[in-house]
C-alpha cells in the first residue's frame, strides 16, 4: 500500500516581510526577515532548521522574477546547519513544499525552511522582458524559441492566448472576469500589508487601460519587493511547537502533456494546472466540496478562473457564471477565494502569498478577513506549463 509522504508532514511556521511596490528595503534583507519570522512563529531556533528549499534558486537578480536570496544566502545569513537543501528546477512555486515532503520522508530533515523572495529592483518581472528576449534567444533550446520571435516576451500574452480561446468557447465576458480583481481588492482592504487597498468599481475596471486583450491593467498582478517563508516539519516533531500544525493533506504537480510548450496540449486551452489538480485529488479522500477557502494563482485574473475549473471547484467552462457578480467568492460567500487580496492587490508574492494566507485562515489568524469555520483550504499555484496544488487542513 502506498503511503503518501505529505500525510506525515505539517506546516508549523509562517513568516512574511513587508511588501513594497517601490524599493524601500534591500530585498535580500526582506528574504532573511521572512525566514526569521517563520522560525520564530514556529517556536523554533535557527539551529533546529536542518533543511532548506526554494524555487527558483538562481543567482539573485539575474533573470526576470528570480529570487532576492539564494539557498547559500539564507544558509549563511542564518548560520544554518543543513543536512539537506534543494533549489530544484521543477514544478514552480510549490516545488519547495514537495521537495521538503520528500526530504522529510527520506529522513534527511525534520524542519525544512521554504521561501520565495522577490527583488523587483534587481529583476523586474515585466519591464526587462524585451531585454531578456534577446538573451534567451541566443541560447534558446526551449519553447521560448517559438514565442520571442513573435513579439511575445510576456506571460500576459501567453496567458491571454489561452484566456481568449477559453472565454470564446464558453461565452465568458470581461464583466464576469472583473469579479476576480474587484472581490480581491475588497479583501485587500482588510489586509494592512496589501499594496492596493482602495476598492475598484466595475466602471474603473472597464475603462482601465488594456495591456493585452482580454487583460487590462487591473487583471495583472503587481510586481513588488517582499518575501514569504513557510516551515514544513515532520508531523511527530510538529505537535509540540508554538502553533497548532496545519496538515498537508495532498500535493500535486503533474505534467502529463507536452511539457513546456504552453499551446500544444491536446486539451488546450487547459494548462498543466489541470494535471497538478488531478494528481492532488488522487492522493486524498477529501473532495472539492470539502474546500472552505481557495487560494488561487492570479498572475492574471483569468488564471484564478482556470484554477477554479482545474480543481473542480466549479464545472468546466463554468467559472464565468460561478464568479459573476462576486458574491459567491467573497469573504461571506460559499467559496471565498484569495482572501488576502491575492497578487492583484496584495502584491506578486509569487504563490507563497497564497500559501501563507491559507495557513492563516486554517489557524483562525486572518484577523478582519478571517472566514468562519475554515477546515480545508486549497492552494493552486502557477500557470501555463507549470502548476502545483496543495490541499491543507486542520489537524485532527
Amino acid at each position: 500500500m502506498i503511503t503518501y509522504g505529505e500525510k506525515n508532514t505539517a506546516i508549523t511556521g509562517i513568516g512574511q516581510s513587508e511588501i513594497f511596490r517601490k524599493p524601500q528595503i534591500l530585498p535580500f534583507e526582506l528574504a532573511v526577515r521572512a525566514c526569521e519570522l517563520a522560525i520564530a512563529d514556529a517556536g523554533l531556533r535557527p539551529e533546529d532548521i536542518d533543511g532548506l528549499a526554494c524555487w527558483p534558486n538562481v543567482p539573485r537578480g539575474t533573470v526576470s522574477g528570480s529570487g532576492a536570496a539564494a539557498i547559500s544566502d539564507i544558509a549563511n545569513s542564518l548560520d544554518l546547519k543543513l543536512n539537506w537543501w534543494s533549489g530544484a528546477e521543477n514544478a514552480a512555486q510549490l516545488s519547495p513544499i514537495m521537495e521538503a515532503i520528500a526530504a522529510i520522508s527520506a529522513g534527511y530533515a525534520t524542519h525544512v525552511l521554504c521561501w520565495r523572495s522577490l527583488g523587483e529592483r534587481w529583476a523586474p518581472s515585466y519591464g526587462s522582458a524585451a531585454a531578456e528576449a534577446g538573451q534567451a534567444l541566443a541560447s534558446a533550446t526551449s519553447w521560448l524559441e517559438f514565442l520571442l520571435p513573435y513579439q511575445a516576451p510576456s506571460a500576459s500574452i501567453w496567458t491571454a492566448l489561452h484566456a481568449s480561446a477559453h472565454m470564446e468557447r464558453y461565452g465568458i465576458t470581461r464583466e464576469q472576469m472583473s469579479a476576480i480583481p474587484l472581490v480581491q481588492r475588497r479583501n485587500a482592504g482588510l489586509n494592512p500589508k496589501a499594496i492596493y487597498r482602495e476598492p475598484i468599481t466595475i466602471d474603473e475596471y472597464m475603462s482601465s487601460r488594456m495591456i493585452t486583450t482580454p487583460f487590462c491593467l487591473l487583471d495583472c498582478d503587481i510586481p513588488c519587493d517582499g518575501a514569504t517563508a513557510v516551515i514544513v516539519s515532520r508531523l511527530d516533531a510538529a505537535r509540540d511547537l508554538k502553533q497548532t500544525p496545519v496538515r498537508i493533506e495532498a500535493v500535486g504537480a503533474g505534467s502529463y502533456d507536452r511539457m513546456d510548450t504552453w499551446v500544444s496540449r491536446h486539451d488546450f486551452p487547459r494548462m498543466a494546472m489541470h494535471d497538478a489538480a488531478k494528481m492532488m485529488w488522487s492522493r486524498t479522500d477529501l473532495r472539492p466540496s470539502d474546500v472552505d477557502t481557495a487560494h488561487l494563482y492570479d498572475g492574471f485574473s483569468w488564471l484564478a478562473m482556470s484554477w477554479l475549473e482545474a480543481l473542480g471547484l466549479c464545472g468546466e467552462g463554468e467559472s464565468g457564471a460561478f464568479i459573476e457578480g462576486g458574491e459567491r467568492i467573497s469573504l461571506t460567500g460559499e467559496l471565498p477565494i484569495n482572501t488576502n487580496g491575492g497578487q492583484l492587490s496584495e502584491g506578486r508574492m509569487h504563490g507563497f502569498g497564497h500559501l501563507h494566507e491559507a495557513v492563516l485562515q486554517l489557524r483562525g489568524q486572518a484577523g478582519a478577513r478571517q472566514v468562519a469555520g475554515v477546515k480545508v483550504s486549497a492552494v493552486g499555484n502557477g500557470g501555463g506549463s507549470l502548476g502545483g496544488a496543495v490541499l491543507l487542513r486542520q489537524d485532527d
Binding site: 520571435p149 513573435y150 513579439q151 510576456s154 492566448l161 489561452h162 480561446a165 493585452t212 507536452r258
Partner: protein, 138 residues
C-alpha cells in the same frame, strides 16, 4: 566598405540541427513540420520519438500552411522598443492535426478582422536564412 546589416525587425532564434527545418524551411515557400514516417503523426516542437507510436522514424515534411485561429490577443503594451503597438499574437491550429499549433503574428490582416475561427494561410518573412512563418487571412 559594405553597409552594416539591417537591424532585424524582431528577435530571431538561434538555428540548430534540430530547428533548421522549421525556421529556414520556408525558403521554398513551404512550412515544414516534423512527421512520424511510421504512423503519420505530426510533431511540434521537435521530439526524438513519435508520441503516438514511439517510432524513431521522424523527419520534416511540408504541410499545407493552412489553418484556423484558435486563440489570439491584441497586445497594446509596448514591451519591446521600436516595435509598434497594437499588434496581434495568435495561435494557429494547422489543418493537418488538431493539436498542431503555432504562435504567430498577422501583420497583413486588419486587427478588427482577427477572430477565433478565422481561416488563415502561411507566408514567410525572410531574415537572412531564416524564413519566419507568419499568417494572413486565407
Amino acid at each position: 566598405m559594405s553597409n552594416p546589416a539591417p537591424k532585424p525587425s524582431r528577435a530571431l532564434p538561434r538555428i540548430t540541427e534540430m530547428n533548421r527545418y522549421f525556421w529556414c524551411g520556408g525558403a521554398n515557400g513551404k512550412l515544414h513540420i516534423l512527421r512520424c514516417e511510421a504512423c503519420g503523426t505530426w510533431i511540434h516542437p521537435y521530439a526524438a520519438r513519435c508520441p503516438q507510436c514511439r517510432s524513431d522514424k521522424v523527419a520534416p515534411q511540408p504541410v499545407s500552411g493552412r489553418g484556423v485561429i484558435v486563440g489570439y490577443t491584441v497586445n497594446v503594451q509596448p514591451w519591446i522598443p521600436d516595435v509598434a503597438v497594437p499588434y496581434v499574437v495568435a495561435i494557429v491550429q494547422l489543418e493537418e492535426q488538431g493539436d498542431l499549433r503555432l504562435i504567430t503574428n498577422m501583420p497583413r490582416t486588419p486587427i478588427d478582422q482577427v477572430r477565433v475561427g478565422l481561416p488563415v494561410k502561411v507566408f514567410f518573412e525572410p531574415n537572412g536564412d531564416i524564413h519566419l512563418p507568419l499568417f494572413e487571412t486565407a
